[in-house]
């Protein structure tokens, strides 16, 4: 009998210890209000479960964030338990994360978009849970288009003409800082997303096709990049060549741009009370590349993964469950315009009231074009770097689009050892 009592006491102690002692650190992005939303979400979980959370903020640039993660994970460091990872990283980092397929019920998993679940499944292991999804969108100034009697553009040519007209008009009216169109063209991952949208909208494919064949050197892709290069200095400031998401948002939200390409997060901030352009913003799908082109947007979005090296995996998984749940995704959609990864939430009236574009552009989100991360696997990063560097050369007038894409195809061929990857 005393033995049993001791055992029970010990067990109680252990349960108590594991329930109290856990401090889970989560790495969050810091673009826009991301960090704030991550903090409030994680702290709500901490309060509810009696654990503690530590928020690790990471660099704005996705390229640099990945480098930081790679160093942390390669060292087998348990400093960070939960990682916020980009949609193109599961293949690169998957070997460092726990398989969540046994931890989440079939029901919990199948509530999310199947395409994202598939994206996050590496060799049968579900290495991350979807947190929010993204697609490139076109933001425009409703008030300015109305003033000049214009409609949101449906082709890039139209966008150029409208941007030029409004820009020239506004400059003549005294705002000499006015620009037509801002986007992300610094030599980093964001430029890969922007350039893929131009090329795909012109029907130029996805750099590397699903079989690993390098398809980027084609006339439509060249036409797309030639168009993009024509914006620099005309409707886009030359500085766009060094812009990331936040620089573009800075110009647009200060009221100094007619159009902007950005992710959904810019909606929540642009519509905030202190925003100079509150209620003057419209959102549309990105334009088509000519009449024969299509509307498209690069698939983005972020997942939550649990490190293999975590000291408290059970609590870390519980935090991921809380943050990716329907309730938390709804809160984030309403307050921050972060797109849910749960299709059912796109019919939720509260969500649609706060961010109407989620309903209007549902098709854009479900048909977003994926970067060739799965087929290129561990070499994706190199592919992306080659691609954004080639594009940057075209945009900065250093190379002609056709020649740059031919050279790019040769380099990718060398990198992939003849398309075998």
């Amino acid at each position: 009998m005393p033995k049993l009592v001791t055992f029970a006491a010990l067990a109680a102690l252990m349960v108590g210890a594991s329930a109290q002692a856990a401090t889970i650190s989560i790495s969050c992005g810091s673009v826009g209000a991301e960090l704030e939303f991550c903090r409030t979400g994680a702290e709500a979980w901490a309060k509810q479960t009696g654990n503690e959370v530590e928020i690790v903020s990471t660099p704005n640039s996705a390229t640099e964030r990945l480098a930081l993660y790679q160093q942390l994970l390669a060292a087998g460091s348990g400093d960070v338990d939960v990682f916020q990872i980009d949609v193109v990283w599961p293949g690169l980092l998957g070997s460092h994360f726990l398989d969540l397929s046994g931890e989440f019920s079939q029901e919990e998993v199948s509530a999310h978009f199947p395409a994202i679940i598939e994206n996050n499944t590496i060799e049968g292991a579900l290495v991350a849970m979807p947190w929010f999804t993204d697609a490139g969108l076109l933001y425009y100034r409703k008030d300015l288009l109305e003033k000049y009697g214009l409609q949101p553009p449906t082709t890039w040519e139209e966008l150029f003409a409208s941007a030029k007209q409004v820009q020239d008009g506004e400059r003549a009216a005294g705002n000499d800082k006015m620009w037509g169109y801002v986007y992300q063209a610094k030599a980093y991952e964001g430029l890969t997303c922007n350039a893929l949208e131009w090329i795909d909208s012109f029907g130029g494919g996805q750099i590397v096709d699903a079989d690993g064949k390098i398809t980027v050197a084609n006339p439509q892709a060249a036409a797309a990049l030639t168009w993009a290069a024509s914006t620099v200095g005309q409707i886009s400031p030359e500085g766009v060549l060094n812009y990331q998401e936040e620089e573009a948002r800075g110009v647009f939200q200060a009221g100094n741009a007619v159009f902007m390409r950005n992710w959904p997060y810019a909606w929540g901030l642009g519509q905030a009370k202190d925003s100079p352009i509150q209620d003057k913003i419209g959102v549309a799908a990105l334009p088509k590349g000519g009449e024969g082109g299509k509307t498209t947007g690069t698939l983005g979005g972020w997942q939550l993964a649990v490190s293999k090296y975590s000291d408290s995996p059970a609590e870390a998984i519980d935090l991921v469950r809380f943050l990716t749940s329907s309730t938390e995704q709804k809160r984030r959609a309403i307050e921050g315009a972060y797109n849910p990864t749960i299709p059912a939430l796109y019919q939720d009236t509260d969500v649609l009231e706060a961010a109407p574009f989620m309903g209007d552009l549902y098709e854009t989100f479900t048909n977003a074009v994926a970067r060739p991360a799965r087929v290129t696997g561990a070499k994706y990063n190199q592919v992306s770097a080659e691609f954004y560097n080639a594009t940057h050369q075209v945009l900065s007038g250093r190379a002609e689009a056709g020649a740059a894409l031919d050279a790019l195809a040769d380099r990718l061929d060398r990198l992939s050892r003849g398309g075998r990857w």
Binding site: S61, T63, L66, A67, Q70, Q71, L73, A74, L92, L93, S95, H96, K177, K186, A187, Y188, P237, E238, G239, V240, L241, N242, Y243, G250, V251, N256, A378, N381, Q382, A385, N389, H392, Q393, S396, R398
Partner: protein, 303 residues
Amino acid sequence: MAGPAASRLTRARTRAAWLFLAPMLVALALVAVWPLGRTVWFAFTDANLSDMGAAGFVGLANFEYLLTDPEWWRSVWNTLFFALVSVSIETVLGLAIALALNVHLPGRGLLRTAVLIPWAIPTIVSAQMWAWMLNDVFGVLNELLILLGIIDQGIAWTANPDTAIWAVIMVDVWKTTPFMALLLLAGLQMLPTECYEAAKVDGVHPVEVFWKVTLPLLMPALLVAVIFRLLDALRIFDAIYVLTGNNQATMSMSVYARQQLVDFQDVGFGSAASTLLFLTIALFTVIYLTLARIGSSQAEERP
């Protein structure tokens, strides 16, 4: 009998010397020799950051690939261009500032301290500060130039490949000229005053005094300062990375090596690039040491 006693003493002294040197040697081996040796070893393997244990020997394959990579040669050219141009400008400006500070002025100590401020700020901080000042839309530099009527549209200093390398050079010059000035000022204060008194008695023009007295006497200090800066400039990383990131137009050898090592996880290939960077710097050091030896032996031969 004196012989063995002396040699015993010598032996004891040698032993003591090794004993005193040992901690330093161990520390050096741990922080310099071991990492360097490991990097050189990795250069001959196909090591990958995600699984370092699986590294296999691949011979010279990494170097072969590297030497045929146009982007590598571009980064070599960028680095050499940056190092030569920035060190030249820093030397001229540094010398001018050192000469000015060498004159007896009231408040000279304060002035010397103030001049050192850019050098004291960490490069990451000063580079980020400059990145904001150079911004094409809200940068203060463009604002100033527009106000002065020199330009009428903001220049995208760090975005345009033509101006980006010059922006990096400018930031480096701003930061390290004080260091150059301080080294040269120390050299100036060591110069014998007799030569200047003799020149004064002979009524030599001050400009001629500079060319015929100051510069030749200052030459050893100047050479040391230049080689110090040159070796440092060849390793340039932080200013370039903060201002323009992984952009090929301004990529230095260090940025190239880091991208391979960290972004692409290719430890073998990145180590090969690091090894070549190390060899380049070593080459410059050897050239300098050889030149210095020839210079000093010529000076001795002179009557």
